[in-house]
C-alpha cells in the first residue's frame, strides 16, 4: 500500500475501524461482489459522490477497470451516477444495498425454479441413449465442497432416511453448521437418530434441541478426527480434513463403505455413555445459587442437630 493510500484509508476509515471494514469487505464478497467492487462500493458509501478518475486514483485501480467496476455496481443497483460534467457516482445506503442484492438473488432463484420444470419437460422429449438399468446404486462417489453443498446432501439423506441416521463428529464440526437447518433436520427425522459427539461444555450449544437420549458422548479414547453421517444402509457423507477453511466431504452409496462405517459406529456407540443434562451451579442465576446454598446450610443444620442429640445420648449413657 502506498503512503497516499494509507493516508486516504486512515482519513476515510480511521485506524480503529479498519478491522471492521475488512470484515464488511469480506462479507460483501459473500454477497456476490468481487473484492474490488466491494472496495469501490464501500469507498463511495464512506466518502460520498466521486468522479471515476478520483475513485481510480484514490483506490489505486486502473482507470479502465474502475469504469467496469462502476458499470457493474450500477447494474446491480447499489450505486448510481449523477449527471454532470464530469459524471459523478454515489452509492445507496448499505442497508438498501444488502436488501437489493438479496432481492436480486431471490428473483434469480425463483427464475431457476421456473426453468427447472421447463428443462425437465424438454428433457423428456430427448431420446435416451443409456439404459437406466445400467445405473446401479452402490458404486457412486461424489466430492462435496463448501458448507452449502454438504448441507444440501445431508438434507436429502436425512429427509429420505427410513431406518436410522447415525452421526459421529466433534462439537467443532457441529458448530460449523450452527445457524443452518442442520439441527432442525436431525430433530425432525422420522428415522431413529443416534449422535456420537464430544459434547464439550463449550460446544454443546451447537446441538441444542436434539433429545439427550439420542446423544452419546465420545470418550477421550474415541476422539478421532473423523466425522460422518450414515443414512440407513445405503448412504454416507464422510468429512475430509482438507486443511483449508472450506468444508469438504465425500458422499458415497458404496455398500461396503457404508457397512464398514456402520459397524464402527455401532462399536463406539456400545462403548459410549449417554449425555446427562448438566446442572451447573456456576451458570445458574443468582436466585438458584441462593437456593442451592440455602439447602446446603439446611443440610449442615440437620447434621449438627443429629450430632448434638447423639452426643447428649452418649453423655447420658456415661452418667448412667
Amino acid at each position: 500500500m502506498t503512503m497516499e493510500e494509507t493516508l486516504i484509508e486512515n482519513l476515510v476509515l480511521g485506524n480503529d475501524h479498519k478491522e471492521s471494514m475488512k470484515k464488511i469487505n469480506e462479507n460483501l464478497v459473500q454477497y456476490g461482489l468481487t473484492p474490488n467492487q466491494s472496495k469501490v462500493y464501500l469507498y463511495l458509501t464512506k466518502t460520498g459522490e466521486k468522479t471515476a478518475s478520483a475513485i481510480s486514483k484514490n483506490l489505486n485501480i486502473p482507470r479502465t477497470e474502475s469504469y467496469h467496476l462502476l458499470n457493474s455496481l450500477e447494474q446491480k443497483g447499489i450505486i448510481f451516477s449523477i449527471f454532470g460534467k464530469p459524471t459523478k457516482f454515489n452509492s445507496v445506503s448499505i442497508n438498501d444495498a444488502l436488501t437489493i442484492i438479496i432481492d436480486n438473488e431471490k428473483k434469480r432463484l425463483l427464475d431457476l425454479e421456473l426453468k427447472k420444470e421447463k428443462i425437465l419437460t424438454l428433457w423428456e422429449t430427448v431420446p435416451k441413449y443409456v439404459d437406466d438399468s445400467e445405473n446401479v446404486d452402490g458404486n457412486k462417489f461424489q466430492i462435496l465442497q463448501g458448507r452449502n453443498s454438504i448441507l444440501v446432501k445431508i438434507e436429502r439423506m436425512v429427509k429420505s432416511a427410513k431406518i436410522d441416521v447415525m452421526v459421529l463428529g466433534s462439537d467443532s464440526n457441529f458448530i460449523k453448521f450452527y445457524h443452518t437447518e442442520f439441527v432442525n433436520l436431525l430433530k425432525t427425522t422420522k428415522a431413529e437418530l443416534q449422535v456420537l459427539t464430544t459434547y464439550s461444555k463449550k460446544g454443546q450449544f451447537a446441538l441444542d434441541g436434539i433429545p439427550l437420549n439420542t446423544i452419546k458422548k465420545l470418550d477421550e479414547n474415541n476422539r478421532h478426527n473423523f466425522s460422518f453421517i450414515i443414512k440407513d444402509e445405503n448412504e454416507v457423507v464422510f468429512f475430509i480434513n482438507s486443511g483449508s477453511s472450506e468444508l469438504m466431504a465425500i458422499w458415497t452409496d458404496s455398500k461396503s463403505f457404508v457397512s464398514t462405517l456402520k459397524s464402527l459406529f455401532k462399536l463406539i456407540w456400545r462403548k459410549s455413555a449417554f449425555v446427562l443434562e448438566k446442572e451447573n451451579k456456576f451458570t445458574k442465576n443468582m436466585a438458584e445459587d441462593y437456593e442451592h446454598r440455602l439447602r446446603e446450610i439446611e443440610q449442615e443444620k440437620v447434621i449438627l442437630d443429629y450430632l448434638k442429640q447423639n452426643l447428649m445420648v452418649k453423655k447420658e449413657e456415661k452418667n448412667d
Partner: protein, 134 residues
C-alpha cells in the same frame, strides 16, 4: 430418630463409605456421624480425586455431590457408566441442585442406588447407605 450409637448391631455394619462433595463443611459433618457409628469414611472434595479413589479402592457405598467445580458428579457418572458400571449401584447422589426429572429417570435406568436432595434426613441417608451396600 434412629440412634446409631445405641444400635446394638452397629459393629456389624462397619461399612466403607466414600464421600465426594466440594462442600468441606458437609463432608466433615457426614464423616463425623459416620465415624461415630463405626463406619469407615473416606472424604474427598474434588471430583477427579474421587473418581480415582473409586477406581482403585472397594467401597460399600459412595455419597456423590453433583455440582462441583472442575470435575463434577455428572462427569464421574459418565466415566463409571463407561468403565465401571457395576459401581453405579453403590452411588447415592446427594445434591443441593434441582435435578431435572429426565436425569432422575436416567439415574434409575443406570442403576444408581438413590438420588436425594439436600437437606436430607440423617435416618434416611443412613438407610440409603445400608441399601446401597447390599
Amino acid at each position: 430418630m434412629t440412634n446409631l450409637l445405641s444400635t446394638s448391631n452397629q459393629e456389624e455394619f462397619g461399612l466403607n463409605v466414600l464421600i465426594i462433595d466440594d462442600n468441606e463443611q458437609i463432608t466433615k459433618m457426614i464423616s463425623s456421624f459416620l465415624d461415630m457409628s463405626n463406619y469407615e469414611c473416606t472424604v474427598v472434595n474434588d471430583g477427579k480425586e474421587g473418581l480415582d479413589l473409586i477406581k482403585t479402592n472397594q467401597y460399600d457405598s459412595i455419597i456423590l455431590d453433583l455440582a462441583m467445580p472442575e470435575f463434577d458428579g455428572y462427569e464421574i457418572l459418565d466415566a463409571l457408566q463407561r468403565e465401571n458400571p457395576s459401581y453405579l449401584s453403590k452411588i447415592i447422589v446427594l445434591t443441593a441442585s434441582n435435578v431435572p426429572i429426565e436425569n432422575i429417570q436416567k439415574f434409575k435406568e443406570l442403576g444408581i442406588s438413590s438420588c436425594l436432595q439436600k437437606p436430607v434426613d440423617i435416618d434416611q441417608l443412613l438407610s440409603k447407605i445400608i441399601d446401597s451396600s447390599v
